[in-house]
Symmetry: C2
Subunit: 277 residues, 2 copies
């Protein structure tokens, strides 16, 4: 089956590139909105690392589809790195159309749910959005040869430098959900683990790619300590205590969706690149 997988990956890669309309947008993640407002992505896609088993042979394969399912279902927790043997798989998934379609499917389900809600009319219904790998995609960063889709250990300095560029594209399905919620009268609230020092660049990044109105943009202050679950639970609790009703909550990490006041319904978008506990 390995040869079949290789052929499939090639076909997916070809399908992904044959529709590209902008050399500077290799990930096809920019929406119509963004193409007129944001810089195209200038980094080319680096070649994926060759297999590096002893003697040049392939390293023993784990079933990367099973690994990804375990990640997405929260069976696998506190994992540190994408397995080296799955780096190619994750790279092709993130750059190919399946990731885009998986995100679109989440958006479709969330939109159907939202359209079916009866709103109270007091403007207190909110929807919580995570930012990284939910509202904005860091795939251009993760595709870099020194990041390798999460198969190389996370580097805080490098990632923050990428955030400071403010050029992350939107995850298209999630932007569509965002716009639909606004049209329905459900107010978006961003809660992100990004530090406050990046507020201005995050705002410009969000606005440039099409996220233009929100009720709150909550970033991590100096006094916000503890795990992501605790931090995000605390912020959601503050919202509920302020009279808001969280009707929906979308994130790529289970730590976005577990804890207290998670919301009436939660939505998980895929992320096989990293885990935040």
């Amino acid at each position: 089956m390995k040869n079949i997988s290789a052929v499939l990956f090639l076909l997916v890669a070809l399908a992904a590139t044959s529709h590209a309309t902008c050399f500077r947008n290799p990930l096809r993640l920019l929406t119509d909105d963004q193409s007129s407002h944001a810089e195209c992505i200038t980094s080319p896609i680096h070649l994926l690392r060759p297999k590096s088993g002893a003697g040049g042979h392939n390293v023993p394969q784990i079933n990367c589809l099973s690994w990804r399912l375990a990640v997405e279902t929260y069976n696998l927790r506190n994992w540190k790195l994408v397995p080296e043997s799955c780096e190619n798989y994750v790279g092709h998934y993130m750059l190919g159309k399946q990731y885009r379609e998986d995100c679109d499917a989440v958006a479709d389900i969330a939109i159907a749910y939202a359209k079916n809600l009866t709103l109270a009319g007091d403007g207190k219904e909110i929807w919580v959005f995570d930012i990284d790998e939910t509202s904005l995609s860091n795939a251009p960063y993760y595709a870099r040869s020194d990041v390798q889709f999460g198969a190389i250990p996370y580097n805080d300095t490098k990632f923050n430098a990428w955030v400071a560029e403010g050029v992350a594209p939107a995850v298209p399905g999630v932007l569509r959900l965002y716009k639909t919620l606004l049209s329905l009268g459900i107010k978006p609230v961003f809660i992100s683990g990004t530090k406050e020092v990046y507020r201005e660049v995050r705002i410009s990044n969000l606005k440039n790619v099409g996220y233009r109105n929100w009720e709150k943009l909550i970033l991590k202050g100096e006094n916000d300590t503890g795990s992501a679950v605790v931090y995000k639970s605390n912020k959601r609790t503050e919202l509920v205590e302020a009279g808001y009703r969280i009707v929906g909550n979308i994130g790529d990490q289970w730590s976005d969706l577990l804890g207290t006041n998670v919301g009436d319904r939660t939505f998980k978008v895929p992320d096989p690149m990293y885990f935040i506990g």
Copy 2:
């Protein structure tokens, strides 16, 4: 990409059949244990339903991989039927090796977690197992032409008649987890939505396929009303009140894994055939 998918499905189907050693075991779900203790499955695999769009054309495709991911991540809830356009996909997934390997991956993760536990030595650590599509597989039933892997509405009478046969094979990865837990001193407790009237046949089915020792086998009594989440939460709470500590909990439905006293860690095995809320 449709042709590629068709080729792939064919290859998976060929791979699945080329290793079959027993005509009466078309699903290759029997383990060594079972082949000596249980009857082989006598139903042949029926041909999957042809596409039935108007004019004989294919019905509009949804992305079945995205649909399955949405099911497994609990993004999609309270769904009634496998989409007709995904019936073939689900059938091939369930009969092919990916389902088996996905279950094996869950077992590997659960075993690694269990082996890392420090037990108190008082024999009060338990692991909760769901039965259907977790400990025992109903794939031979779901492969029938009048069931179509969940694309035809659930029929209580037919399903109960299948349960009464008592010939469901084990999900191999889960049986391996079960045996490992027993060897570690963690006691299995089955909690199933099966009605008490089927107790004897379920016991013989479980024992025949290799599940031979357990602390409790909890089935649904006449007074057990309410949703699966409420029923299973109540039963787990009774266990905790009796002094047991639930160190792990494995099921194919999110209703097995949500609610109260879910256990220190939960494990979701795949099930794209039906939803129980």
